[in-house]
């Protein structure tokens, strides 16, 4: 069996086993074991020859994202070992959590690996359904509201993406081509001969469909609610992985539609969604009082920035977008781990109740402060590098985009610095609780920060060339 398939089947097998493990601690350890095996498999993939095997393909574009997924999956399962007990879930819900988590990880890998756009759609839908279950896990009215909103909005979104996929199949049906129907490579090859009108229609549906999943404005309404509910590990994987899978699908489709010179340039539509997300999220950050919602809005901002990069297109624009996706996943999951640990200590997720962490719990406070700085795009982390690339690309190719892009970025950075001060440096609330934070929370945060730092200042040579090649794949 090809190694790539194992990466999908292993988590699903793990999910089946986890469904029968009643003991909390054992289940959490098995969960880590499965994620660690997935991480090793994704490292082995680096040595695999690239290309298509059956329904999966392995190329420079999905390889870095797969590696990232397995890293975040591993650190998140380590984090939940320490955190899940504090969530107050009964045995049945705890099993449901572990099963849904591994189901999600497998579907996420399949969504990135799929060569057939139909299979990609199926994978994104499975990942969505698994995360709906995780978001609603606590069963409080707020969690049910979030889960229902997530289910309905993403249900419609994903249905539109399927319609777009079917229309893409219709476009390709008219021109005889080789290869399996709906295969990405076959569609890319036949796109220049397809009817541009049908391709346009397909792209609109696919962009709106997968754009809903990626949380692009104005299709973002589900995201802040979903990331504020459910166990905090979910916020880390939703924000760090699911959004990437959706944006990766958009990028693949953009490459197909962009290959036909007579279509409406797909980059322009993507750019409009991206800039709208940057502006709306930049200002919305100022009105947030709930820490998890604040960082959920920051995810919308960062997805907007990555979409803007892909909208610019070309190797430089795509490279900026890809680097931004990688850097955002690492930094944002680190922030959610930190916020989760703080929420466990203080019993509230309001920013006002979480203040002064550096005074009361310095180990956590400083780790969180540095993570927030990384998310805000301060140097030397990866997001600074990608935002720098993005702005220089805008200045060189699309000077008009500087104004909305710069405005959104500055407003957002200011909001994040303010939140950074409120959470970490201001005076703690009156009932100061001191507590210890164990390695299961701090370890993942620092691991992510080190990786984000490496990505920002010392990109290893092979990874650099892989990202350069990936930027070419995106069209």
């Amino acid at each position: 069996m090809p190694l790539a398939w194992l990466l999908v089947l292993l988590p699903w097998a793990g999910a089946a086993v986890l469904g029968f493990l009643p003991r909390e601690r054992v289940a959490a350890l098995v969960n880590i074991g499965v994620s660690a095996a997935g991480f090793l498999l994704s490292l082995l993939l680096l040595a695999e020859p690239q290309g298509v095997t059956g329904w999966t393909r392995l190329d420079a574009l999905n390889l870095p994202l797969l590696l990232l997924s397995s890293v975040v999956g591993l650190t998140t399962s380590v984090y939940s070992l320490g955190a899940i007990a504090a969530e107050g879930l009964d045995a049945r819900r705890l099993r449901a959590f572990h099963v849904a988590f591994q189901l999600f990880m497998g579907a996420q890998a399949l969504a990135l690996l799929a060569d057939n756009l139909g299979v990609m759609w199926v994978a994104v839908e499975i990942a969505t359904l698994a995360s709906v279950l995780m978001v609603g896990l606590h069963g409080t009215p707020a969690a049910i509201e979030a889960a229902w909103k997530f289910f309905i909005l993403c249900g419609v979104g994903i249905a539109l993406a399927l319609l777009g996929t079917i229309i893409l199949g219709l476009a390709a049906q008219a021109v005889p081509g080789e290869g399996e129907a709906l295969s990405w490579a076959a569609l890319l090859a036949s796109a220049p001969r397809c009817d541009p009108g049908v391709l346009n229609l397909a792209f609109v549906f696919l962009l709106v469909g997968y754009g809903t999943k990626a949380g692009l404005v104005p299709l973002h309404a589900w995201l802040p609610d979903a990331e504020a509910e459910g166990p905090i590990a979910i916020s880390a994987v939703l924000s760090g992985l699911l959004l990437n899978a959706a944006l990766h699908a958009v990028l693949r489709v953009k490459a197909i539609v962009g290959a036909n010179a007579e279509t409406v340039p797909p980059g322009a539509l993507l750019l409009a969604f991206g800039l709208a997300s940057v502006l709306v999220a930049g200002f919305a950050l100022w009105r947030r009082r709930d820490a998890r919602r604040f960082f959920a809005w920051s995810s919308i901002l960062h997805m907007g920035l990555a979409a803007t990069g892909f909208g610019f297109g070309g190797v430089a624009g795509n490279l900026a977008g890809l680097l931004h996706m990688l850097g955002h996943s690492l930094a944002k999951s680190a922030v959610f781990f930190g916020i989760g640990a703080a929420v466990r200590l203080r019993g509230s997720q309001r920013i006002a109740d979480l203040g002064g962490l550096c005074t009361t719990v310095p180990a956590l406070g400083w780790a969180l402060a540095i993570s927030i700085a990384a998310v805000a795009g301060l140097p030397p982390f990866a997001l600074f590098a990608s935002e720098y690339l993005l702005v220089t690309e805008a200045a060189a190719q699309h000077p008009w985009a500087i104004l909305p892009l710069g405005l959104g970025l500055l407003v957002a950075v200011a909001a994040k610095v303010q939140t950074l001060q409120a959470l970490c440096f201001c005076d703690p609330p009156a009932d100061r609780t001191t507590g210890r934070v164990d390695w299961t929370s701090l370890g993942p945060i620092w691991a992510h920060l080190v990786l984000a730092l490496l990505l920002g200042v010392a990109l290893p040579g092979p990874l650099r060339s892989m990202l350069g090649e990936a930027a070419g794949v995106g069209g």
């Binding site: 329904w55 057939n116 139909g118 299979v119 759609w121 199926v122 839908e125 499975i126 359904l129 709906v132 279950l133 609603g136 069963g139 409080t140 009215p141 707020a142 049910i144 509201e145 979030a146 889960a147 229902w148 909103k149 289910f151 309905i152 249900g155 419609v156 249905a159 539109l160 399927l162 319609l163 996929t165 079917i166 229309i167 199949g169 219709l170 476009a171 049906q173 008219a174 399996e180 129907a181 709906l182 009817d195 009108g197 049908v198 346009n200 229609l201 609610d225 504020a228 509910e229 009105r287 947030r288 009082r289 709930d290 919602r293």
Partner: protein
């Protein structure tokens, strides 16, 4: 293949039947009746898929038809009925938009679907084009139903009807991979299970399925 030829006419008739049933979903006043109409739409979908299998000479479409018949005309309506009985739902349909305006909006959406789908698909086969226009209409009407109904079960029915439109679009296009059709069918069942879990929790905690009541529970008052 064009008007006046049997394969085309029958496909058109079945597609038109699904569209008609989509309109019927919009004007039912009782939840149980809505579920019956959904079952009828599933049955017509099964016929449409079987007919396409016969016309295209694609045996795998018979499997799609069988799944549609078993799941969409049988299991899903049964499950929805069971949920309604189990939850002792109020029988009336609570609409955010009245029945008359809903139907008018529906007609406008169908016109929109035809205006979008027909002009741009001149290169494709006539059957695939018109099938797409009808399927797009069914999808849009399903969406309209999700928007204008406040009851959670009816929103799920809207989503199911929307997926019927997607399957109609997929079977109309020759050469769609079987795996896609199979997985759509499997996923619809999964969607229903997930929806059921959330709906039961909603009932348990909030004692109602009116989604309007959910809004005060947003985590952050503005």
């Amino acid at each position: 293949m064009g008007f006046g030829q049997l394969p085309y006419d029958v496909a058109h008739l079945l597609g038109g039947g699904m569209l008609l049933l989509s309109f019927m979903l919009l004007y039912q006043r009782r939840v149980a009746a809505v579920v019956s109409v959904l079952a009828a739409q599933g049955a017509v979908l099964a016929l449409a898929a079987a007919w396409q299998g016969f016309v295209q000479g694609a045996p795998q479409l018979y499997l799609t038809a069988l799944i549609a018949a078993v799941a969409k005309a049988g299991l899903i309506p049964l499950a929805l009925r069971w949920m309604i009985r189990r939850l002792a739902l109020a029988r009336g349909v609570d609409a955010a938009l009245g029945i008359g305006p809903s139907l008018m909006a529906g007609v406008a959406l169908v016109a929109l679907a035809i205006m979008v789908a027909l002009p741009i698909t001149t290169g494709a086969q006539a059957l695939a084009r018109e099938d797409l226009a009808i399927a797009l209409s069914v999808v849009l009407l399903g969406m309209l139903m999700m928007i204008t109904r406040r009851n959670a079960i009816l929103q799920v029915v809207g989503l199911m009807s929307l997926e019927n439109g997607l399957v109609l679009a997929a079977v109309g296009i020759a050469g769609m991979p079987l795996v896609v059709e199979l997985s759509i069918a499997a996923l619809v069942m999964l969607v229903l299970v997930v929806a059921g879990v959330v709906v039961f929790q909603m009932r348990e905690r909030l004692d109602s399925l009116d989604t309007l009541l959910l809004h005060p529970h947003r985590g952050e008052p503005e």
